[in-house]
Symmetry: C2
Amino acid sequence: MPELRQNLATRDWVIIANERAKRPHDYIEPERHLTTDTQPFYDPTCPFCPGGEELDLEIERLPETGPWQTRVVDNKFPALSKEGELTRTFDGVHRCIFGLGYHEIVVEHPRHNTTLALMTPAEIRVVLQTFYNRGWAITRDPRMEQIIYFKNHGVRAGATLKHPHSQIIALPVVPNTIRHRIEEARRYFDDNGECVYCVMMQDELQKGVRIVEANEHFVAFVLYAASSPFHIWIVPRQHSVSFLYAQKDALADLAHILHNMLRRLFLGLRDPNYNLVIRTAPVKEISNDYLHWYVTIIPRLSRTAGFELGSGMFINPSLPEESAAFLREVNI
Amino acid sequence: MPELRQNLATRDWVIIANERAKRPHDYIEPERHLTTDTQPFYDPTCPFCPGGEELDLEIERLPETGPWQTRVVDNKFPALSKEGELTRTFDGVHRCIFGLGYHEIVVEHPRHNTTLALMTPAEIRVVLQTFYNRGWAITRDPRMEQIIYFKNHGVRAGATLKHPHSQIIALPVVPNTIRHRIEEARRYFDDNGECVYCVMMQDELQKGVRIVEANEHFVAFVLYAASSPFHIWIVPRQHSVSFLYAQKDALADLAHILHNMLRRLFLGLRDPNYNLVIRTAPVKEISNDYLHWYVTIIPRLSRTAGFELGSGMFINPSLPEESAAFLREVNI
């Protein structure tokens, strides 16, 4: 029978529609369209492949000398402008801020036809280090309020270029949705004296049914109120508001668990399209007791339509406990 | 230069990314894939075509006697269950409600290969009357809190069946997003003593640049902070919290303006995929000074990706003022 489940942290409801339930294997991509099969190792026309680098757009690279593994470049068609003044206008009805911000591309690997799921944990560690470096650099710009680190993998997830890459957007405002999440977390802390994310993570560890894996610093599970099939959270065990305050050895652990989780999806569901987001506190929230950063992976296996636009709620036709069991069993 | 614009009613920011701006004609579907060209007038295998009706699922039809124009049927694979008891459980972490609710299909026309944009205003009026009748019937169920009336047109908008239809979902909760909108509207009223939607509509009428058309009861415009290209609001001039409290002659006027707006999209952009939602107050909010129902049309011309999932904000690569001018000029 269908259930409405509530995410304790965000208070968002989701419909778990067992009536129309699909089993985990129903989500396996019917036709193999793995990047490695359809794309060349190297594409001379690709601006992200070695040899074709647009050096004028480059911000940094790792390692700094010798052949690079990651490069950060300005988006050639940025949504926001790095130059200009942060003007604000309000005429009583229209509130407008000049679109000042950062829009950067993280090229994750020199190889054209690879993807995070096929990289080594050490290589993923370098990608995370690149996020970390850029996050700190942007944090020094006092005009920036929020950094969104994200990855679009596959066309259905919004990717337009094949070469493995992520993006970083920095905004001069804290988005409304993030403010609402902060308010909910603060309210939970007021009521209970605990971080709601810590509570959820501890509960998942105790119950075990939705856990996929865990290591010294991180816990990965399918969400109780997963808004779509295989909706995953990777939560640091240590309470901290921001990815930028993660310890150095935590990054290596995050690379490991990310590698394993993405391999489970890649092998189990045959390279599904997905979005990955690092959800982290506003730049100027350095520390508090109620916010907790984490990584979310959202495979794009269902479509949002009028109901989701009208209600802000999601219909998930899969059972989170079954999805977790399926992912646990993938032989990585 | 890019701008961040704020929707005064919801306080959501949107990035108007002029740097990557597309002109209105860039959104015209390059290949004509009009329903009328690719689908038969009548499909004997379609459960919504006359002759194939699944009568056991039927809830009502209009007109009640003679050949029908609209039929309401239970969704064969409903997201929610009409039967059962509204149980709630909370163990301290997991809040769950039994998935009680309505999930109905409104078959809009007997003809398989038509669409709202090709129907007459009188036919669209019958579709709206069907929404209205079902809305009132569901409102009498005291367990229901919110009704979402919506339409998915085209695959990219989430439609799985070709035959023209809309959907109605009734929920035993008021979704979080809708609560946030109510709170924002109430706060605006507290501060200013006016309905924020009335203020926005009056301002659009005065400025004119984003107005597409208006009639005695309704005003249709492209939103100042449009979250995607050609994002349209159709707002009733008379303040009212709910679609169900619209006057009878207002429905005829809504049918006219909806007909014209959908024809502008159909002819101007060549039958784009779109979602349509009637945004209306929770069932038990009968009247107040701050909420205002309206219809929104969201053509699916851009994709949501990691940035939108991570921030709740949207990047709109088109200029709302240009979109409105383009739609005004379509010869309907």
